[in-house]
């Protein structure tokens, strides 16, 4: 399989900075103005990739197309999709996390939805990056919707086993997700175990609440981090985005130094 432009870019950024920063935007289509504000905040703060999605529910592709087209006129960094279901796919994005919810109890979320979407993805030539999505306790909304059997938070071997199985099935990125509202990101031991098992990019999705969370996660081995609520909840998104991204990059450099 040929590696696409966005995937190569992700590897380049990891190589250069030690960590990739994904600014996550929940596509509230009715409230176009708000989304654009956050996108700008992330871009000007120095984010590497804008991520669209992370919410449940059905996204109207036509509306998403229009929204993205508008936003992309002024934001030059790559846009990736983080879909909740087979909708929310658009050619206007640069790439897509082609995720399989590895520990779901329902085959629809493991291979069903993905297979149904496959012909459209291929036809539209959307860059689909095969990804393992592993839900860790508590799971929250995404765990509930995806009928996941959340990996026990104190059992890193379970996450590592699922991550390795994903790699052996062709996946090239692993995402550990605890769900929005979880008390914090997956523990460092889990990131260490998963990174050791797969070696390819391991991403921390959501639940980072403090700078300490971010620091522990990246130093434990995470190659990428999704941030949304930290910025959304702040009074000055622009400023907050800049300071968080600078901090993330600083820790990334520290991680790189530590390796040498």
């Amino acid at each position: 399989m040929r590696i696409g432009k966005t995937e190569s870019y992700i590897h380049e950024v990891i190589e250069r900075d030690g960590v990739v920063f994904f600014g996550l935007i929940d596509p509230d289509i009715q409230d176009n103005g708000k989304s654009l504000k956050y996108v700008r905040a992330f871009y000007e703060g120095g984010a590497d990739i804008i991520l669209i999605g992370g919410s449940i529910g059905y996204l109207e592709t036509v509306v998403l197309d229009k929204t993205l087209k508008e936003i992309r006129k002024e934001i030059p960094i790559p846009f990736m999709l983080f879909p909740g279901n087979i909708s929310g796919l658009t050619k206007e994005a640069d790439a897509l996390y082609y995720m399989s919810l590895m520990n779901s109890k329902n085959p629809y979320w493991i291979t069903g939805a993905q297979a149904l979407a496959a012909p459209v993805i291929k036809k539209q030539r959307i860059e689909a990056i095969p990804t393992s999505l592993i839900i860790v306790e508590p799971g929250e909304t995404v765990g509930w919707v995806g009928a996941a059997r959340p990996v026990l938070v104190h059992k890193p071997e379970l996450a590592a086993a699922y991550a390795l199985a994903g790699k052996y099935l062709g996946h090239r990125i692993t995402i550990l997700e605890r769900g929005s509202g979880a008390p914090g990101p997956s523990p460092p031991e889990m990131f260490r175990a998963v990174k050791k098992a797969v070696c390819h990019p391991v991403i921390c999705a959501g639940s980072s609440k403090t700078l300490q969370d971010i620091r522990r996660t990246i130093l434990a081995g995470a190659d990428g981090i999704h941030i949304a609520s930290m910025i959304e909840k702040s009074k000055d998104p622009m400023k907050k985005a800049e300071s968080v991204i600078n901090y993330v990059k600083k820790v990334g450099r520290e991680k790189k130094r530590g390796k040498k």
Binding site: M1, Y98, S100, M102, N103, S104, K105, N106, P107, I110, T111, Q114, A115, L116, A117, A118, P119, I121, K122, A128, P130, L158, A160, A161, Y162, L164, A165, G166, Y168, L169, G170, H171, R172, A197
Partner: protein, 278 residues
Amino acid sequence: MKRTKNIRKKIRKKRQKKKDKQEGPKKPVEPDNRTILERIKNRKRKGPLYMPFIDSTIYSMDEIEKITRNIEKSMADMIVLGGILNVETNYFNRVIKKIKEITHLPIVILPSNAGMISRHADAIFFISLLNSRNPYWITGSQALSAPSVYASGIEVIPTSYLVVEPGGTSSWVGDANPLPRDKLEIVKAYAVYSELSGKEMICLDTGMVNSRIPEKIIKTVKENTDIPLAFYGGVRTLKDISKLASAGADVIITSTVIQKHKKGRRLRHLITMRKKRK
């Protein structure tokens, strides 16, 4: 009376000669430094690879030995080792060692469940039954077996296993929701998904309907993917093999039945005839 005695003597001599002929030395195999996947993708000869299947879970060691000798005498390319049921690790290792005493052919594991792994094999088709109703056969057993696959150090080939109506034994054991045989769009979707999700091979198991090879399904898969396609399940006759080869299958996994039939003469005959034509 005398005539019967002479005839009996002749028969005995013939049997002894045959026995001596059977247990011969291993056939030399061209040295090939490529991975198993590369050998499947870039075949030196035109036409598919023939990989007879050995079921390590329902046959005894003696039967497996006989089957392997039959395969060794045929023009097979590699051996696929798997089973319907489960196997105990030590026994599985002994089976592989026994096979290696008889032949130089590469051994690729097609696992029936977690636990069917050995560091003495050459590669493993790391399969996921994409259209199973039970997540155990999609990611569960894969997660359980991943650490021991890693420890074995053998080549891992990410493979998707697709069961099409009516499906064979694998469909029953794997609790599959068989893809409808006449809805090629659905087969196409799963085939495209296999490639997009990073799989390097597709293994198609259809079970035979009126002993007919599903040529249209194979052609649909081949037209929509760039990864090799292996066909498994009920391949028994020369016609089966011809149809599979014409439809574009890259790997033909023949069933254990013909390996055993008439001391494997049938298998030898099938593969030799087919290879000579191409």
